[in-house]
Subunit: 137 residues, 4 copies
DNA sequence: GTGGTCTAGACCACC
DNA sequence: GTGGTCTAGACCACG
């Protein structure tokens, strides 16, 4: 699983990597236990500084998404029990949803269109997970 | 309509203002034609520099949310026809939704919980709009 | 290539820098690929704030004159194919020429004097370019 | 002779008026002795503040382009002898020409194209002057 | 080391 | 009175 970075987007490169690994984990392209490329391999592949790659992995580890085992590399962790209570977690998500709702309003997208869109995107993710039963094919 | 800012959140103050004005517009607390507080008044109220307030308004104007008239102040624009085609707009929103879905996965919130949450938040917004039929009374 | 700024002229410092870099590029003192002084070095040299220097470079980048690479510095871009059609470009220049013609009239400089003056200035520029075949030696 | 202003251009309204009056004088649409609209007529016509119109006229008067006679209005002055020596005047113009040359370079317009363009624009101005032998027709 | 962002103060242009 | 610009200081992100 090699992320793809856009140097001109203004979004920090290390964050682009973080987001893509998280998205791959959510979408099933990466499954618990799967190995990620080594820091130096990733750096070479994307033509980025090794520090930048290391920073992305450090961020992912601190978020509990991956696990680095000295000498063997980085691996996707199981989507373990979150340290936060369910109510807290859904509250956090509610904040993000509100932002999406606000933007939908300014994009003149109706409530029901938004709900359909969510349904559609969820289906896409589910499909992707089912198509990749053993991690990246 | 006076936004409320949190100086310790790390989120730039001017962006907090932008988001709150957009949310107020989407939630019905601000209606097209309504005047926003002047740059000076806002700055004094929030104890921030005038430039910070001005920057928030500049950003809102560049996003097409407000209109600024020299010497008279800033006013909420009608949520006019977006210059983008509908397909482009919903694609843009889909990207944001995907990010929410990814985060939901990492927060271990199921698809159906997410859908319920969206429904609930939409209801909250609708309610707010109906309670403020003439702007904030 | 170190620009020279005049603090009493009333012209914004950052714009003076922009103009001088553009003039150096046109006059051959700077050639594609040449490095510009770093933001910090330029600021120190001219005794200005780093932001002022950075703003000049930002403006130059947005005009497509230079290219800025994180961590390495700023470099003069090749005077690449303009995104505008030739007709549009010469129309834009015509507007500037008209302004010069108007001013010539108010300075009571005749048409033929103006034409000679242009010829003379063009020769000066050409000479400068020829004297600096490898950037400023 | 009623100028036309563009409120969205960012250029101060009073300066747009100044430039247009000067251009009209140079192009022959206004001739020495011609009357300009009164401050209040101009302000009403363009839907601008009377102060803005007055400021434009003040600027024109201080540049020696027009003359205000209390009670009778504003009139275009003869393009009187400039207080500056010829050398100074052509030096000033040379600076403006240099700026045009630099921009021509960035617009990838060749030296000879620039010279032709000047010739063409001068011809246009001359023609306009000849077509309007008695001021605005 | 590099460039970029956010906030701020002073000043200006406009109505 | 209104909003806008320029310069500045402190801090951050990146390589």
């Amino acid at each position: 699983m090699i992320p793809h970075v856009n140097f001109k987007s203004g979004v920090p490169v290390y964050l682009q990597i973080v987001e893509q690994v998280k998205a791959a984990a959510a979408g099933g392209n990466l499954r618990p236990g799967d190995a990620l490329p080594s820091v130096r391999a990733l750096a070479e592949e994307l033509r980025i500084n090794r520090n930048t790659a290391a920073r992305a992995y450090a961020e992912l580890e601190s978020e509990g998404v991956i696990e680095t085992r000295q000498g063997s590399g980085c691996f996707l962790k199981a989507n373990g029990a979150s340290p936060l209570r369910h109510a807290v977690r859904s509250e956090r998500l509610a904040g993000e949803l509100d932002a999406v709702i606000v933007q939908a309003h300014h994009l003149r997208i109706t409530d029901s269109e938004l709900q359909s869109l969510l349904k559609e995107r969820l289906a896409t993710f589910r499909e992707r997970r089912d198509d990749a039963p053993d991690g990246q094919p």
